[in-house]
Symmetry: C2
Subunit: 414 residues, 2 copies
């Protein structure tokens, strides 16, 4: 693990590694494997000059002996403190820490800018899929309109299993068995993990600060097998989607389960994969997909960041803009109602919806003895109006269970 001298005469490029868990260990192995090739391209050999774990190493010494710090500890503290200290001493840093970036991003960006150092974090979102770099660099001259992302592989795996007929509990158990979900899966299934990643992507795409707390999120725990079946019937797929988009002069960022039309580029993303679609008038749309996590994939993204710093291919972040965050946006909705099978029920429901300017695109009504199921898809409507309409409908005496809504994303391009 300790410093290996550079082979080609020149001094080695010294990397201080903070954290030696799954990703840290995979990074050390990958670096060792690729050091020859990196030296061939860049003339400098990257070596790990020090490792900090809970039980070993001294941060100050590691910092003093490194050209670059790689932070793979996770969590906000002491990772934040270490990264700030490194940048203040003029060192470039690479991190894979989505919690930290989504909660303390502005402080980190500001410090990087002030000290003229690079802060890279490709691995914080979508693993080896180079969405961070593409937004920061390839598309830096492109006015981005919208990002839709499947940025949590655990929930995408669970929803894929559910669409094949598994219950939520069965799918979650299978995900845990395969190592795709933690023993406590709440960060993934609640949508919070995806919200952190969308906060980071929104910051990159629109240049305005977005904190995790600014991102409303809804998870997948409440989805029913019924809804999956109706989705199939309507020709729709069900995914946990993160959206970051320009709306009404500001920016809206949110995470929610969504029904996607079959032609949407994210509709075909199955299993524990991640995918991000970037829309812009100038480029129409670009989609990038790949495995969302895994120690070696994440390590590969981290190593790409290290090489970009070695080759001077990164720059300090630009100063932030200040765009308002818009909360109440328009969506189309799927609405599921269990109702008594009386004459006039459909008329009462559609009238209530109409009073809130919710207009219906399609309806399926199905009798079930004394009851009936109404499944509707609406035209796009402001979410506050939809909530008010659903509240009014829920109060009808003929409604037999709590109405369920899921947002619908329609194909807008091609």
């Amino acid at each position: 693990m300790g410093a290996t001298p550079g082979v080609r005469g020149g001094p080695p490029f010294r990397i201080g590694l903070l954290g030696h868990g799954t990703v840290g260990a995979a990074f050390a192995v990958l670096l060792e494997e690729r050091a020859d090739e990196i030296e061939r391209f860049n003339g400098q050999r990257p070596v790990i000059s020090g490792v900090l774990t809970r039980s070993q190493g001294n941060f100050e010494e590691i910092l003093a002996g490194a050209d670059l710090l790689v932070e793979l500890m996770g969590g906000t503290e002491p990772a934040r403190e270490y990264l700030l200290a490194a940048m203040r001493s003029g060192k470039d840093v690479v991190s894979a820490n989505k919690q930290l970036l989504s909660q303390h991003g502005e402080e980190l960006f500001e410090t990087a800018r002030e000290h003229g150092v690079r802060l890279r974090f490709e691995a914080a979102v979508a693993g080896a899929v180079p969405v961070v770099r593409v937004l920061e660099e390839s598309l830096s001259a492109t006015p981005i309109e919208r990002i839709h992302g499947i940025v949590n592989g655990t929930t995408n795996f669970i929803l894929t299993e559910m669409s094949a007929g598994a219950s939520y509990a069965q799918a979650l158990a299978h995900a845990q068995q395969l190592g795709y979900a933690e023993a406590d899966p709440s960060d993934d299934v609640s949508g919070r993990d995806a919200a952190a990643k969308m906060a980071i992507l929104a910051r990159l795409a629109f240049g305005t600060p977005v904190h995790l707390d600014d991102v409303p999120y809804e998870g997948i725990e409440h989805l029913h097998g019924d809804d999956m079946a109706y989705a199939r019937e309507l020709g729709l797929g069900l995914k946990l989607i993160g959206t970051a988009e320009r709306r009404d002069g500001g920016v809206s960022v949110r995470v929610y389960p969504a029904l996607l039309y079959g032609g949407h580029p994210l509709a075909s993303v199955v299993g524990p994969f991640n995918a991000v679609t970037v829309e812009s008038e100038a480029i129409t749309e670009i989609t990038m997909s790949g495995p969302g996590a895994g120690g070696r994939q994440t390590a590969s993204a981290v190593l790409g960041d290290v090489v970009s710093v070695m080759t001077g291919g990164a720059r300090p972040p630009a100063p932030p803009l200040s765009l308002p965050l818009i909360e109440d946006v328009e969506s189309a909705f799927y609405l599921h109602l269990d109702v008594a099978d009386h004459p006039g029920v459909l008329a009462a429901v559609t009238q209530a919806l109409g009073e809130h300017e919710v207009s219906i695109k399609s309806v399926v009504q199905r009798g079930l003895g004394e009851n009936a199921r109404l499944v509707m898809v609406t035209h796009p409507v402001r979410e506050s109006r939809m909530s008010a309409a659903v509240e009014q409908v829920a109060a009808f005496e003929f409604v037999r269970s709590t109405p369920r809504t899921i947002r619908v994303i329609e194909e807008e391009f091609i």
Copy 2:
């Protein structure tokens, strides 16, 4: 068009533009739209300081007055001569010219390296899909095993129409009507355009020189509606695929129509889109997709390159490796035979195939009066063996028409 002074006091970043056709004009418009934003991020305002067309401008003057040349003329000469002259005078260059890069890439790379200047060409492959940058930078530390690409939107559009029942002639006429195909479509439908792009991607992925002439290509003109129908029956999609991969200690690069299993990431790419899948043990696989062409999309990729040069985010190319180019590789094949419906025909065919070590994975035989159709899919076999086997089968007196073969790509990941 002429030089606009920089607004924020500092000197402007002067761009000499060679070529003012569809892409050149779109680039000038996009640059104008984005100049404020680029200046905000980089402190320097990009301006077009001179334009060379067939009828106006003087190359030497434009070169002398520019910080960077953008070449959007197309064709090999005089584009090659101009880019070499610019780099020899120490200027960075951006080009969208796939012909030039696939035929004179090594001379251009060598000149860039010798003079320490940047040579960027994102727009030469897959339009706004940032595959060049991702290979050059994000994945520069990743040992790439294979690239599969749909890198010609014209042929993908035609094949999409054919899979919906159109004949080749109908689909081509429709593509021409929509502006997706040229009046003379031979460069696209022959596979030559895709071969040029794959030569460029292979050079980036594997670091070894690959010339357009090194890339065997086969087009889509000879594909039958029959084959599309059988493909559907077998659950396969038919695409024009470019492959660049490590094989037998060397590199194989080729373009060919291929049947893809439904789960392959490229199987769902329809219409005039491009997509590239990069496979590596360290990253599993990453897929990037988007519109393949269009003036504004291409201009957007060119502008991304310009910004990368302004921000110092690119470096001169590395010296080449020298890996052998492997021609005779293994593929699975679809084989279509029209035969007389006699007893013993299937036995004779399978025996002939077996003698060349071609082993059959699946067979569909269908009687048609006195004749029958045999449609087979083989296990992977060296292409030279398959050719020899098909030659032997074609000589049987009971074979009624020339046998047709199409390569098959099986799902290898997930």
